[in-house]
């Protein structure tokens, strides 16, 4: 008897045998569907932007199951933090989200300052410069995010356009911090150095250019039929699901949740600046792209406002138990010499206690939880990495997609493995 006839016979056999026949038919269905293919994507694959590994179970080109495997870039940053002073850990924060090191520096410095109870006492100039840093980092990160997403769906040129602008941002960052990539710009209670002369003008000039280029990107992609076909209704993340997975940042806002830490818990001088928080409606790849595009325009506005309102004055806290005293006074006065010595050898002395501070980073909520027993080093430092949390939604997003959608979804999530694996 052929298989088809067997099916028909069982269908006709009535309700009593339903369960038995179902059990049989699932087994047979599996046989009919044939073998599924396991495709190992990554950890070194051009679309995984680093070392994400995806284990895809394929039925033809359709994904029936996706398992992300993270940890290939694990360096034990959290443990490393326990073995050094608070200041010494700043360079390690560069290497979290390495596309926005300035924003990580700021978030970490603010977390330690919160532990010390001085985050509200920072000099105004310092706060404004830090906001500029955060927004420059956001611009740089979103430019790369959009460019990489466009490249993943095949539009290579958009990627190179955004890289031209990122080059200019790197030049600005180099002029500001002395380093292009690993900036280590903040210090506990201040900054490593002030804005150089003429930097504000260079920055303004860049902003006028980047606005033009963002518009160009907009024209190239937003209404391109192929790009829209590849991203709309792909990787849709409904509001509730996005909240359940704990997504933050542009990915959460694209799903229609209006949550931005800069508005919800304003830090630095964000409460004095005017900006809109763009939110999406559907939560698909296209929305995530649109949200990032608009956030870049808002960042440009924020930097302009900061440059307009930039006050003079010091950039570091006057309290030299926290910041280093000026060098000439170290060599002439006893008090300052002691401060310098203690700060450098033992670190800023923090009170016992625990504190959590999170900042709205380009990728989402970057949080530092610091548990201190007093003294110059943290007892435990936990990093809440937005990329890690955002990636946790992958099994949900990838189910039922096609292989080509994987790259669009990965691109639209805009993650960085340095941060995810820590």
């Amino acid at each position: 008897m052929s298989r088809v006839e067997e099916y028909e016979y069982q269908d006709a056999a009535g309700q009593g045998q339903q369960a038995a026949s179902e059990a049989m038919s699932t087994a047979e269905e599996e046989e009919l569907q044939g073998e599924k293919m396991l495709l190992n994507m990554g950890p070194s694959h051009p679309a995984t932007h680093g070392v994400l590994r995806l284990i895809l179970e394929l039925d033809g080109e359709v994904i029936t199951k996706a398992t992300p495997d993270v940890g290939y870039l694990h360096r034990g940053d959290e443990k490393i933090a326990e073995n050094m002073t608070y200041t010494q850990f700043i360079p390690y924060t560069d290497r979290l989200d390495y596309l926005a090191p300035l924003a990580n520096n700021v978030a970490y410095a603010l977390a330690v300052e919160k532990l010390l109870g001085v985050e509200r006492d920072l000099p105004e100039r310092c706060q404004y410069i830090r906001v500029i840093c955060c927004e420059l980092a956001r611009l740089s990160s979103h430019l790369l995010g959009i460019g990489a997403m466009a490249m993943d769906v095949g539009a290579m040129t958009a990627f190179l356009y955004t890289f031209t602008d990122r080059e200019k941002i790197y030049n600005l960052i180099e002029a500001l911090t002395g380093a292009r990539f690993t900036t280590t710009y903040t210090r506990i209670g201040g900054l490593s150095r002030d804005m150089p002369e003429g930097w504000a003008e260079q920055c303004r000039h860049f902003l006028t250019e980047v606005v033009h280029n963002i518009d160009e990107l907009d024209r190239l992609l937003t209404r391109n039929r192929i790009f829209v076909d590849r991203t709309r209704e792909i990787g849709t993340l409904p509001k509730e699901v996005a909240v359940d997975y704990g997504l933050t940042g542009p990915n959460l806002r694209a799903s229609g949740v209006e949550f931005d830490l800069r508005k919800a818990h304003p830090y630095l001088v964000y409460d004095r600046l005017r900006f809109d928080v763009p939110i999406g409606t559907v939560g698909d790849c296209y929305d995530r792209y649109l949200v990032r595009l608009e956030e870049m325009r808002q960042s440009v506005g924020l930097i302009e406002q900061c440059l307009d309102q930039m006050p003079g004055g010091p950039i570091n806290l006057e309290d030299h138990k926290i910041t280093l005293p000026p060098k000439e006074r170290v060599l002439t006065s006893m008090e300052e010499l002691i401060h310098q010595f203690i700060n450098v050898t033992q670190g800023v002395r923090a009170p016992p206690g625990e504190v959590y501070f999170s900042a709205e980073n380009p990728k989402g909520e970057l949080g530092f939880y610091i548990h201190s027993l007093g003294g110059g080093t943290p007892n435990r430092l936990k990093i809440r990495a937005p990329s890690f949390v955002n990636l946790s939604s992958l099994p949900y997003l990838l189910q039922g997609c096609m292989v080509s959608d994987v790259v669009a979804i990965l691109g639209s999530l805009d993650f960085v493995m340095g941060e995810c694996d820590r």
Binding site: A47, G154, D229, S404, D405
Partner: protein, 364 residues
């Protein structure tokens, strides 16, 4: 004598073709750089003109690595199967009128268009074999995609040219071109039916006779299908470097990889040559007396140059599109092929037939 002249033509065409292929790679890199605000290769020789030679040397000197899990005979033959058909398409294309007494076409087949489609579809075997022989998952997916893609677009492509041959099949084609004894009579001697020379002859009369204007829909379908056939963006799914790493040629290295690479460009030139011959008037220009087959050597050379210039213009379009558009998804591509282009091409045939029937006064 005939054999000798044919051999000379073959070596001339293949030589020029390979040279153009090498320089198309350079052109692609320079034009993409131009599109992307970059410099592009400009170090080797003036404007990077020696770059293709450096590239070729590099490919030859690289280790030719064959993974030990591949199916060796297929793995070795696949690159050859890919590049040979790409070079063979030019055998039937008239790339000029006359040079002396020689007609500038290698084999003036009366089934030229059938030959072309037959040869073009052979190219897919190379890709499928490469994907299969590599015995690895990404090339495998690339191979599957490629076979599905090329088969679907071939149908639309084939049907899009049917109206053209309905048009040139009109009686009295030669009469309107000066009748017996003229240059055209010599050019079209012994041709009939699906011959490319006749397509050129039909278009040579006036600019309006160019089939891009008479059959815009067919041109559009053929153009898109040509992109799909040559695996160029937005249809480069078989390679899709961000999805499938390098698709069907992931496991290839050295000169074997270079053959796939060159085949892509040879295919592009072949597709451009077809487009020019079928829709853009071939070697003719409808003014300055360049519309009739050449009687002097200078005229013959001019016609060849015109053909090459037109081919380069189409190639530029190929490159320009590649660096502008994103890539289709597998199912979207199939949908576009089967649900849009095949019905459109069919409708175009019916409409053309109806118009011809009406013009003929309702006579069968």
């Amino acid at each position: 004598m005939d054999l000798v002249s044919t051999m000379v033509k073959i070596s001339g065409v293949v030589g020029v073709l390979l040279l153009v292929v090498a320089y198309m790679v350079l052109a692609e890199r320079r034009i993409s750089a131009w599109a992307q605000d970059r410099m592009g290769p400009n170090r080797v020789g003036p404007w990077g003109l020696i770059q293709p030679i450096a590239d070729g040397l590099k490919f030859l000197l690289k280790e030719d690595f064959t993974p030990n899990y591949v199916k060796q005979p297929f793995f070795w033959i696949a690159p050859a199967i890919t590049i040979v058909p790409a070079l063979m398409v030019f055998a039937v294309l008239p790339f000029g009128s006359f040079l002396g007494s020689q007609k500038m076409v290698i084999a003036d087949l009366n089934i030229g268009v059938l030959y072309t489609f037959g040869i073009v579809s052979l190219g897919v075997y190379g890709i499928v074999l490469a994907g299969y022989a590599a015995n690895s998952k990404y090339p495998f997916l690339g191979g599957i995609r490629s076979s599905a893609q090329i088969i679907s677009y071939e149908i639309a492509m084939g049907m899009s040219v049917v109206p053209i041959f309905m048009l040139i099949g009109e009686p009295g084609l030669l009469k309107s071109l000066g009748g017996e004894g003229g240059a055209w009579a010599k050019f079209l001697a012994g041709t009939e039916g699906l011959n490319f020379s006749r397509v050129v002859a039909y278009q040579a009369e006036s600019l309006f006779n160019w089939l891009i204007f008479k059959q815009p829909l067919a041109f559009l379908i053929f153009l898109v299908a040509a992109f799909a056939e040559t695996n160029r963006l937005p249809f480069d799914l078989p390679e899709a470097e961000t999805e499938l790493v390098a698709g069907y040629h992931t496991e290839y290295s050295s000169m074997k990889f270079a053959l796939f690479f060159l085949a892509e460009y040879a295919n592009m030139i072949a597709a451009s040559g077809l487009l020019v011959t079928l829709f853009l008037g071939g070697w003719s220009l409808p003014f300055l007396g360049l519309d009739d087959p050449a009687t002097s050597v200078l005229g013959g050379v001019l016609h060849i140059l015109i053909f090459m210039a037109k081919v380069f213009a189409v190639m530029f379009l190929f490159i320009w599109v590649r660096w502008t558009l994103p890539r289709f998804r597998y199912d979207q591509l199939m949908q576009l092929g089967w649900k849009r282009f095949v019905p459109l091409a069919l409708a175009n045939i019916v409409i053309t037939a109806f118009v011809l029937w009406t013009v003929a006064g309702g006579q069968a």
